[in-house]
Symmetry: C2
Subunit: 228 residues, 2 copies
């Protein structure tokens, strides 16, 4: 049997509302609620009803503003990603010293993630389950095509590393390994927090103490690993 094409709602653009008032506030409330729910349960596990309840509005309003669950989840993903990735590109791409970059990235990430504990688990989960859908979103979040930006960034790092190797103050390492080692040490403890909580018996307070200690030790640990 042939299914008749589903009727489609005409395109609206409530975001472009001219009079900023209760409407804009509502849209933001919905987005904030969606963010909370999607971060806890993931896109597949989240329920529109729960988002509506958390936002204190009706479920129909979610569709009024964002049309589909798909679009709402995309909006959340992009918002979250755009708070994480640009910092990486800007910090590592800057024209500061290598040690300065290491210190800065560790400080930024540990601080930021301490206040957004669910972000790493959420991002890894989404990227893992929908890598195809996520590619364009990630480009949007960075604000440029990573395939253009990253090679330049890696070149810069490679040059800085080579200088230090010639000085004899660092041993050789590929820039990719450098970057991935650094962000592994920063991000993984947050992504694996539920596991650490169980395995090491850490409650929330213990985890925060653990991170505070890490802020102090990680720069030295990382630089130590690079000594010749």
């Amino acid at each position: 049997m042939i299914k008749p094409a589903r009727k489609r709602k005409p395109v609206r653009s409530p975001t472009a509302a001219k009079i900023p008032g209760r409407e804009a506030a509502t849209e933001q409330r919905i987005l904030a609620a969606a963010r909370a729910v999607f971060l806890r349960h993931g896109t597949a596990g989240a329920r529109m009803q729960e988002i509506a309840a958390e936002a204190g509005v009706n479920q129909a309003l979610l569709h009024y503003y964002f049309r589909t669950k798909e679009r709402l989840s995309a909006a959340v993903f992009q918002q979250v990603a755009s708070r994480i990735f640009p910092a990486l590109v800007q910090t590592l791409g800057a024209e500061t010293s290598l040690d300065g970059k290491i210190n800065h990235l560790i400080a930024i990430y540990l601080d930021n993630l301490s206040q957004n504990l669910f972000v790493p688990g959420y991002l890894i989960s989404e990227l893992h389950h929908h890598p195809e859908r996520v590619q364009q979103l990630l480009s949007g979040a960075i604000g440029a095509d990573p395939q253009i930006v990253m090679p330049a960034l890696l070149k810069t790092l490679e040059r800085q590393i080579n200088e230090r190797v010639r000085d004899g103050t660092m041993r050789p390492i590929k820039p990719q390994q450098f970057v991935i080692n650094l962000i592994s040490l920063c991000i993984f403890p947050f992504a694996a927090r539920p596991m650490l909580s169980i395995v090491f018996g850490m409650n929330d307070a213990a985890f925060m103490r653990f991170i505070e200690q890490r802020k102090k030790e990680l720069p030295e640990f990382f630089r130590g690993a690079l000594r010749p």
Copy 2:
């Protein structure tokens, strides 16, 4: 309106079938298919129909063997977790040298995960979205209560670290930080693989080359970080 309680199927135990034949093979096929689908899509995103198709059987048969999606996903999680966590406990808890443990853990994990690329993303995702449900499963996978095993393991590590600190061949580090740094460097690249693929433009072959290089460099990198 009062909903009548859903009728429940009487408890069966097909796993305990006395005659191992086609039945056992089917159960294993279903489990393997479920593993593949749950790893790709996560528990919430997976569809029983897709698992049935992948196993080459009917959807009703999944319920015959595992009763509910919940139980099937629990079986998969425990199977996956039991291949990852015991290695950690056994390796770090052994009475070998600290350097030996580092080398062994890196080798084991990078090899193992290279052949199970989806495992880290899957585990982090499940732990993140269902930490409460997962606690008991994890205990089952380790084969003992982590709250008993881990403190002993950390004590052992602490003693070994202290010895080396007195020797002057290592600088002080808390055993928890030691363990988490080590597994961060091993596991994160796999968990973040979809992101690395996009950000660094790595295809599958490039990623495997990246890991191969890592096998060689990571032990030295990590030991370097611990030098005084």
